[in-house]
C-alpha cells in the first residue's frame, strides 16, 4: 500500500476514536509536576483491574497522554470522552479520585459532578481562540497518526504538490504574519530576504530558546504539538531553499527535546522529512541542538554561534543572517510559534488569517498568563484583545481580594501597563506606544503588594547576569544601573538617582550591540513612567510602600491599616508582637529578631 493511501486511511478514522472511550491526561511539564504521570498510571491500572480494556457493550477504554491543556492552575486536568456523550473535564485530579471516576463515570455513565471543571475553566476557554494550540491537550504528541487525523501535514502536501517557493512566500506575506518571538518582523519579508540569496548551503533555524522569565508558550507547543512546528519548518525551508534545518531548544526543556526527537523520527518514517519529501525533489533534515543555559542565545546571531559550538556572543550587523548567518551561509531564523502558524495559513488561506486581529497585527498570540491572577496558564487570543479581558475574564481576576496594579508584558525586555491601560488593545504598535512590548508573550500580573522598584531591580539583575559582556554599554551600563536600584531598595537612594537612571537608560538603549542591552532599560523606563512616586518614596522617605524591600523594614505596625486579624501575633516565633482582636498589633523591637515572618503573613501591608 502506498504511503499516501496509508495516510488517507489514518485520516479517515472516525473523529470519535473508533468507538473507544478515551481518558486524556494532561502530561505537559505542568501536568506532570502536579502528578499527572501518577494519575495516568492509576487510570491504566484501574482500567486493567476492571477489565475495561475488554468491551463494555462495544466500548473499549484507553488512556492517552496529551500536552498542555492551558489552565495549569487546575492541573491535573483529565478529559473523559465517551462516544455519543459530551466530553467531560475533571480538574485537580489526584490519584485517590481515580477509582471513583472509573467506577461512576466510565462504568455507570454518571460523571462525578463535584470534581468536574468549574466555571473558571470554562470561562478560561470561552474567550480564547485556540488555533496554534488547537491540538495541545487534545492529541498525544508522541503519535504522528493523531496529528494526521486532525489534518496534520495537509499544508505540506498542498505546498509541495502545487505551490512554488514564491507562492508560499506570497501567501505568508499576504497573511500579515509577524514574528512571535519578540522582534515582530514580517515573516513573509524575512523569508523573501533569505530566498533571494543563492548558496550551496542554506539554513532554516527555529529559535526554541525561550529564555524570557515567565514564558512557556514555545515549550507547550514543542511538548504538545511538535509536528506543527516541524511542518511549519519544512514549508519555510522549502520557501527559502534551505538545505538543512536546526531547532535550538534550551536545555531546561528536556521533555520538549524528547518529544521533538520522537516527532522527527516519526516524520522521517512517513516521508514528511528527509530525502524526497512526499515524493518531491525537496530534501530537508532537521537536527536538534540543545542550549546550555544562556539567555543571550535567544538573540539570533548568538544562537547561531552557539550552534557552531562557540560562546554565544552577538555580532554587529551587516551582514544580516539572511545573507550570511550560520557558518556564514544564508540563514532564516524564526520562533516556534511563528512556524506553528504557517500550516494554518497555508490550509485556511492568508485572507482568512488576516481577518483575525488588527490592521497591523494579524492572527492570534499565545500568552503565558501568570503571577497574581487566579487562572494562571497558557492562553491564545486574537490580537487586539484588551488587557482587561485577559486579566479579568480569562484570568478570573486577582486572588485574595487584592487590587490589580499592573501587568508586565514582554519579560525583561518589556514594560508594565498600569490600571489606566486596562482597556488598551494588545498589539505590536499599541504596546510600543505605551512603553511596553509584545515580547515573546510573557504576561505577569502584579497586585498591590508588589514593589515596582524591586520589579525593575529584579529585571535589571537578570539582564546584568545574562549579559554576554562583549559591549561596555550593556556590560557596564546595566551593572551601574543595577547598583543605583540596589541602593534605592536598600534605603540609600539619592535625589539625583532618577535623573541618572533616565539618562543611562537612553545611553544603554542606544549604544548596546544587541537586543539584550538595547531593551534591558525598558522595565526601568516603564516603572519610572508609571510608578515614579514609588521611587520617590524609597528615596525621600526611605520607605517601601508595599513593605517588600526588606532593608527598609521598620518593624512598626501601621494602626490605620491593621485589621486586628492577629495572624502576625500568632506566628511570631519569639512572641514579640502584642495585640488582640480588639487591639491593633504592636511589635516590641527589643524582642524582635527581624525574621520578617510577620511581613509574609500580613495580608494588609500593615507592617511598615
Amino acid at each position: 500500500m502506498s504511503g499516501r493511501t496509508k495516510t488517507e486511511k489514518v485520516r479517515a478514522k472516525s473523529s470519535n476514536n473508533d468507538g473507544k472511550s478515551i481518558i486524556s491526561v494532561c502530561l505537559g511539564t505542568g501536568g506532570i509536576a502536579a502528578g499527572g504521570d501518577k494519575v495516568f498510571a492509576v487510570f491504566e491500572r484501574e482500567i486493567k483491574k476492571k477489565k475495561l480494556d475488554a468491551a463494555i457493550g462495544k466500548r473499549v477504554c484507553k488512556t492517552a497522554k496529551t500536552g498542555c491543556r492551558g489552565l495549569c492552575a487546575k492541573d491535573v486536568l483529565v478529559d473523559i470522552s465517551i462516544p455519543e456523550t459530551k466530553t467531560q473535564t475533571y480538574e485537580r485530579v489526584t490519584v485517590d479520585m481515580v477509582p471513583q471516576i472509573v467506577e461512576d463515570h466510565l462504568i455507570n455513565s454518571k460523571p462525578v459532578e463535584k470534581w468536574l471543571a468549574k466555571h473558571d475553566y470554562h470561562n478560561f476557554h470561552a474567550h480564547q481562540e485556540r488555533l496554534v494550540l488547537g491540538n495541545c491537550g487534545v492529541i498525544n504528541p508522541e503519535e504522528i497518526d493523531e496529528y494526521l487525523i486532525k489534518g496534520g501535514y495537509k499544508a505540506l502536501e498542498k505546498t509541495l504538490a502545487g505551490m512554488s517557493p514564491q507562492d508560499v512566500i506570497a501567501e505568508i506575506s499576504k497573511s500579515g504574519l509577524r514574528g512571535r518571538g519578540g522582534g515582530g518582523f514580517e515573516t513573509g519579508w524575512k523569508w523573501e530576504s533569505c530566498a533571494k540569496f543563492d548558496d550551496d548551503e542554506k539554513y532554516v533555524v527555529c529559535n526554541g530558546d525561550e529564555g524570557d522569565p515567565g514564558a512557556f508558550m514555545d515549550r507547550s507547543i514543542m511538548e504538545g504539538d511538535p509536528h506543527a512546528l516541524l511542518e511549519g519548518m519544512v514549508i519555510g525551508g522549502y520557501a527559502i531553499g534551505a538545505t538543512s534545518g536546526y531547532i535550538y531548544v534550551r536545555a531546561e526543556y528536556p521533555l520538549a527535546i524528547e518529544r521533538l526527537h520522537i516527532a522527527i523520527k516519526q516524520a522521517k518514517e512517513k516521508r514528511y522529512l528527509g530525502k524526497n519529501i512526499l515524493g518531491s525533489k525537496y530534501n530537508l533534515d532537521i537536527i536538534i541542538k540543545e542550549g546550555a543555559g544562556a539567555f543571550v542565545c535567544g538573540e539570533s546571531t548568538a544562537l547561531q554561534f552557539s550552534i557552531e559550538g562557540k560562546r554565544g556572543m552577538p555580532r554587529t550587523r551587516p551582514p544580516q543572517s539572511v545573507e550570511a548567518g550560520l557558518w556564514n551561509k544564508p540563514t532564516c531564523l524564526n520562533n516556534v510559534e511563528t512556524f506553528a502558524n504557517v500550516p494554518i495559513i497555508i490550509n485556511r488561506g492568508a485572507a482568512w488569517f488576516s481577518r483575525i486581529g488588527t490592521e497591523k497585527s494579524k492572527g492570534t498570540k499565545i500568552f503565558a498568563l501568570t503571577g497574581n491572577v487566579k487562572n494562571t496558564g497558557l492562553i491564545e487570543v486574537p490580537m487586539g484583545i484588551t488587557v482587561r479581558k485577559i486579566v479579568f475574564d480569562i484570568g478570573g481576576g486577582i486572588p485574595k481580594k487584592k487590587k490589580f496594579k499592573a501587568v508586565q508584558i514582554g519579560g525583561p525586555s518589556g514594560g508594565c501597563l498600569p490600571e489606566a491601560y486596562l482597556d488598551s488593545p494588545i498589539d505590536f504598535e499599541s504596546l510600543k506606544e505605551a512603553g511596553a512590548m509584545m515580547g515573546s508573550g510573557s504576561l505577569v500580573v502584579v497586585d498591590e503588594t508588589t514593589c515596582m522598584v524591586d520589579m525593575a531591580r529584579f529585571f535589571l539583575e537578570f539582564c546584568t547576569s545574562e549579559s554576554c559582556g562583549k559591549c561596555p554599554p550593556c556590560r557596564v551600563g546595566t551593572f551601574l544601573m543595577l547598583d543605583i536600584l540596589n541602593r534605592i531598595t536598600q534605603g540609600e537612594g539619592k535625589e539625583e538617582d532618577i535623573d541618572v537612571l533616565e539618562e543611562m537608560s537612553e545611553e544603554v538603549r542606544v549604544m548596546s550591540l544587541c537586543g539584550l542591552g538595547q531593551s534591558a532599560p525598558n522595565p526601568v523606563k516603564s516603572t519610572l513612567r508609571y510608578f515614579r512616586d514609588e521611587y520617590l518614596t524609597h528615596i525621600r522617605d526611605k520607605e517601601c510602600p508595599t513593605s517588600s524591600c526588606v532593608a527598609l523594614h521598620k518593624y512598626t505596625v501601621d494602626p490605620g491599616k491593621c485589621t486586628k486579624c492577629t495572624l502576625c501575633i500568632r506566628n511570631c516565633p519569639v512572641d514579640a508582637i502584642s495585640g488582640s482582636r480588639e487591639e491593633v498589633a504592636f511589635i516590641d523591637k527589643e524582642k524582635c529578631i527581624e525574621c520578617n515572618l510577620c511581613y509574609d503573613k500580613c495580608n494588609f501591608m500593615a507592617i511598615k
Binding site: G30, C72, K289, S306, G309, G312, N372, D600
Partner: protein, 164 residues
C-alpha cells in the same frame, strides 16, 4: 615531579573510555563542541581538566577556547557538585510569588548558600532563571522533578520525600 606523578595517578584512575566513546560518535561533525561537553558532563558529573585536554586533542580546539565556552554557559560546571541538584526558579512569575522564601528555607535547612554543596556532597543548591513552568509558580526542580505551587512548608514536605 611529585605533582606530575599525582596528576598521572589521577588520570589513571579516571575512566577515559566514556569520553573516547562520546568523541568517536561526534567525529567529523561541525559545531559539535557543546553537545560533546554536555554528554561528557552527563557521564562524569562535571568537566575536569584531563577530560578537557582529551577533547581539545580530538576536536583540535584549544583548551582555552573550550574553557571559554564552558565558562560562558550556565549548564557547565568545572567543579564537582552534589549527588542531587536543587534548583529554585527565579523567573518573574516565581519571584512575584515569593520564590525568595523558598531559597531562604533551603539555606536554613541545608545550611548552604546558593551555588554551594552540602559537606556530605549530597545536595547542591542553585538559583536558576526561568524554567518555563510559570503556570505553577513558584517552582523548585529537584534533579529532573518539577515541583510547583510551593510554599516553604510544602517545599519541606517535598524535600522530606527525597531525604527519607
Amino acid at each position: 615531579m611529585g605533582k606530575k606523578k599525582k596528576q598521572a595517578v589521577k588520570e589513571e584512575t579516571l575512566d577515559l573510555s566514556k569520553a573516547e566513546e562520546i568523541l568517536d560518535k561526534y567525529e567529523g561533525i561541525d559545531g559539535c563542541l557543546i553537545p560533546v561537553l554536555q554528554q561528557i558532563q552527563n557521564a562524569y558529573g562535571y568537566l575536569q581538566e584531563p577530560i578537557v585536554n582529551i577533547v581539545s586533542e580530538r576536536l583540535n580546539i584549544s583548551a582555552s577556547e573550550i574553557i571559554g565556552v564552558a565558562t560562558f554557559y550556565a549548564q557547565f560546571h568545572l567543579k564537582p557538585r552534589g549527588k542531587h541538584i536543587i534548583k529554585v526558579c527565579c523567573g518573574t512569575a516565581c519571584h512575584v510569588k515569593n520564590s525568595k522564601n523558598l531559597s531562604a528555607r533551603i539555606e536554613k535547612r541545608f545550611k548552604i548558600k546558593k551555588d554551594e554543596t552540602t559537606e556530605d556532597k549530597m545536595f547542591t543548591f542553585e538559583e536558576v532563571p526561568c524554567v518555563g513552568a510559570c503556570g505553577i509558580a513558584p517552582v523548585v526542580v529537584f534533579d529532573k522533578d518539577v515541583h510547583g505551587t510551593l510554599s516553604p512548608d510544602k517545599l519541606d514536605g517535598v524535600l522530606d520525600g527525597y531525604t527519607k
